[in-house]
């Protein structure tokens, strides 16, 4: 246990040494902080309406103005971070966990299972996301969980394929053969020896995927398939902002800025993470 913590510590230190990585770390840190403490930080209740002071421009009282229901945009942006993470984290990590499991099984298991899983992955991938989302939303109704499910389902193949490729590469590597020669079970090989070597690549992929997921939530919101009102999601902000862009451009700014910031943060973090985690690069150090 202690060793893995020290490795994690090493990774964090490695990321923090890289200027872009540090920037990513800071941005992500701020977003996570705001998400956790959203309801203590926000100047106003993000769902409290004040119809009299609706559609106000940015001012000292309302940094990013108010929306059509007189809700404080800044507060909604802050609280929206929580929703974004509530969507992105389970979706991305869920997809990663399932994709990883299936991908490793496909890569390590028998050929027929590999073929079956690949068919499964390719089939899911072949639906345009929007079409899939529409059908699912129509089936189970729009909500946070639905968005999570749609995003998760559509990204499983990506993780699955990467995990499979990695597993295929690793399965003939000498250390796996060595484990097999000692009689290690499949579960042990996959869990103890493959997983730690694959998860790094997938974690990087996941970090870079988080902003894409947030943007996807915005897209679904635009089509009216996003989270339930009055939940303050960045996507919902963007959608409201979109329909009022001529009157109140700050609403789009409020929804768009955090997404772009989050993208920068997670991407920088992800790329820096890759540099640190990649053993090829680490050896050179």
């Amino acid at each position: 246990m202690e060793k893995s913590r020290s490795e994690l510590g090493q990774i964090i230190i490695g990321v923090a040494r890289d200027p872009l990585g540090l920037m990513g770390l800071i941005i992500v840190g701020v977003i996570v902080f705001c998400a956790i403490f959203a309801y203590w930080i926000v100047p106003y209740d993000p769902i409290a309406m004040d119809i009299k002071s609706r559609l106000q421009g940015p001012s000292a009282a309302h940094l990013l103005g108010t929306d059509q229901l007189g809700r404080d945009t800044f507060s909604r942006v802050i609280a929206g971070g929580q929703v974004a993470l509530k969507v992105a984290l389970p979706a991305v990590f869920g997809a990663m966990a399932i994709g990883l499991t299936l991908g490793m099984i496909a890569g390590y298991g028998p050929k027929w299972l590999d073929n079956l899983l690949m068919l499964f992955f390719d089939t899911i991938r072949s639906f345009p996301t929007v079409m899939f989302a529409l059908a699912v939303v129509a089936l189970i109704g729009p909500s946070l969980q639905t968005v999570v499910f749609v995003v998760m389902a559509t990204s499983i193949p990506t993780y699955g394929r990467v995990a499979r490729t990695q597993t295929l590469t690793l399965r003939n590597s000498e250390f796996i053969l060595a484990e097999r020669s000692m009689g290690a079970s499949m579960a042990r090989i996959l869990g103890v020896h493959m997983l730690p070597n694959i998860i790094g690549v997938l974690a990087v992929l996941a970090a870079m995927d988080i902003p894409t997921v947030i943007a996807l939530e915005a897209g679904l919101s635009f089509l009216g398939l996003g989270v339930k009102p009055p939940t303050p999601s960045w996507g919902a902000l963007l959608k409201d902002g979109y329909s009022l862009i001529r009157q109140t451009p700050w609403l789009v700014v409020g929804g768009g800025l955090p997404i772009i910031l989050a993208t920068l943060g997670f991407t920088f973090l992800g790329e820096s993470l890759r540099d640190v985690v990649d053993p090829k690069l680490r050896k050179q150090r």
Partner: protein
């Protein structure tokens, strides 16, 4: 802060030209998109919400298709553009109600069908109307004709429309709207009884020149049209359902006429770009919140009444309709017979009374779901309802549904609260028909079951005395409201902007009557 998207002086063309001619000033009026306004090309560009896919009036699915049908076909009578509902002669030179069940008409002799299908005859009128009520046609528009029986052809251009019983909406719905379109009997029969995406024979002032699905429909002047010549040579109809896009297209000079969103009204009141004008029309739509009286949670009438009083309509109008719409008093819009001057429950919420009613109901810890469509206006409205009901301690969860699922709510017995909006034709008969007991499980989502209401709906349609008829419909709406199943919200409004070169011809509810559009000189 308000950003004005004023037009820049230098367009792309101007840019290029300016670079060569070194005279930026000369380039000024050459803006790229200005061509739409600058050149009087005789093309009227209008926006529709959707694509007119079917050229068969019997299978028309609403206003989008009717806009084209009304231009390429003729009816005995047409709606009159203007502020008041009314009709004018079209294919008929004479039309009169000889008794409550008989209407005599005579046709003009100068209307002919294209593709060599000859002059329009009374036989065509008979064919067009009778095929709609014929079961074999599967026409969704059959109910519009009500108790229509048949047409007696008395001569080549004369005939009598026969009803089974009196039917007041014949003048306001049946004849000037979808079911009134006259098609060529010979042409339809030659086409095998069904018209598809292309008209088989046209007779109106315009001919449908081309249709690029989801892109545009082009109407061209009918050279053989003998009536009043339309002002525009060509009409291009663009299907655009996104209001923002339509407004931007208008401002970019690519549309002459479009309905705009209520949120933009304030901005356009201050001035319409390119010298255009804003026309604010009422609308026939009615928006309400319904309560499913059969749902176990909502069977208590006092609870429903408490909810009625706790919904604050002015807030909704302010936030979701941008103050551009008025509160509704019922399902029948102002200007139509049967409109109520005021509702029984005032628009503004009365939380005291609501709380009192809730206490009387004995219900506590009420949690309800509110189903609504996934459009900003509705979700905004739903959130206000959610917030105002919270004030009397009722928790509401908003279910946002995409349209396919939403419109399938009729047989959803688990429906609790629903935010709904129906369209309307200019006759009260149309409005009441959905709330009859017969419609439970179909369109009467509230499962409002009032024999008296049903009785009024049946008899009012046959009532020809306008004052009496109005009274009956007002009573019908009272019944709805008393049941506690309805909280009327608004009839919306229809703000339309048009370019300076257009004199629009709009129905009182703001819909375009393309054949009457004029040119500003």
């Amino acid at each position: 802060m308000k950003i004005e998207w004023t037009k820049a002086n230098v367009g792309r063309r101007g840019f290029l030209k300016g670079a060569t001619a070194l005279g930026a000033a000369t380039a000024l009026p050459m803006g790229w998109a200005n061509r739409a306004f600058a050149a009087d090309d005789g093309v009227l560009r209008v926006r529709a919400y959707g694509d007119a896919q079917n050229m068969d009036p019997a299978h028309s699915v609403g206003v989008v298709e009717e806009e084209v049908h009304a231009s390429i076909y003729n009816k005995l009578i047409q709606y009159k553009p203007g502020e008041e509902w009314g009709w004018q002669m079209d294919a008929a030179t004479m039309i009169e109600q000889v008794d409550p069940t008989h209407i005599k008409f005579a046709l003009r002799d100068d209307i002919g069908f294209t593709n060599g299908f000859g002059a329009m005859t009374a036989e065509d009128v008979k064919f067009s109307m009778e095929r709609i009520v014929d079961d074999a046609t599967d026409s969704p528009n059959k109910p519009d004709l009500g108790p229509f029986s048949h047409v007696d052809v008395t001569s080549e251009r004369e005939g009598t429309i026969v009803l089974n019983k009196p039917f007041a909406p014949i003048w306001s719905i049946a004849l000037p709207y979808i079911t009134g379109n006259i098609v060529s009997k010979a042409a339809v029969e030659a086409a095998g009884g069904r018209i598809g995406a292309d008209p088989v024979a046209e007779s109106g002032p315009y001919l449908r020149d081309s249709w690029s699905p989801k892109e545009k429909t082009v109407l061209k002047r009918n050279p053989d049209w003998k009536g009043d010549a339309p002002s525009w040579d060509t009409v291009e109809i663009y299907p655009i359902d996104d209001e923002n896009t339509a407004e931007i297209a208008f401002e970019a000079g690519e549309l002459d006429v479009t309905r705009v969103s209520l949120g933009s009204v304030e901005r356009y009141r201050a001035g319409v770009p390119n010298g255009g004008s804003l026309v604010e029309k009422p609308s026939l739509y009615y928006v309400w919140m319904g309560m499913n009286v059969e749902h176990p949670k909502l069977q208590n009438q006092k609870l429903r009444q408490a909810i009625q009083h706790a919904v604050d309509v002015p807030s909704i109008l302010e936030a979701a309709y941008f103050g551009a719409a008025e509160a509704a008093t019922g399902i029948i819009a102002p200007g139509l017979a049967g409109h109520r001057a005021s509702s029984l429950v005032p628009p503004a919420a009365n939380f005291e009374k609501a709380a009192q009613l809730l206490a009387e109901s004995g219900e506590t810890n009420v949690t309800l779901t509110l189903d609504t469509l996934n459009k900003t206006t509705f979700t905004t409205t739903a959130q206000i309802i959610q917030a105002t009901l919270a004030q009397i301690g009722i928790t509401v969860e908003v279910n946002v549904l995409e349209s396919g699922a939403f419109w399938a709510s009729g047989d959803n017995e688990n429906l609790q609260l629903v935010l709904n909006r129906f369209s309307m034709t200019p006759d009260p008969y149309y409005a009441t028909s959905w709330f009859t007991p017969e419609q439970i499980g179909k369109w009467n989502w509230e499962r409002f079951n009032s024999p008296e209401f049903n009785e009024i709906h049946e008899s009012a349609a046959a009532e020809t005395d306008i004052a009496k008829r109005a009274e009956m419909y007002q009573r019908a709406q009272d019944l709805m409201e008393e049941s506690g199943a309805y909280r009327f919200i608004t009839h919306e409004a229809t703000p339309v902007i048009h370019s300076a070169r257009v004199i629009p011809a709009l129905r009182p509810d703001g819909l375009s009557l393309l054949r009457y559009f004029g040119k500003a000189t």
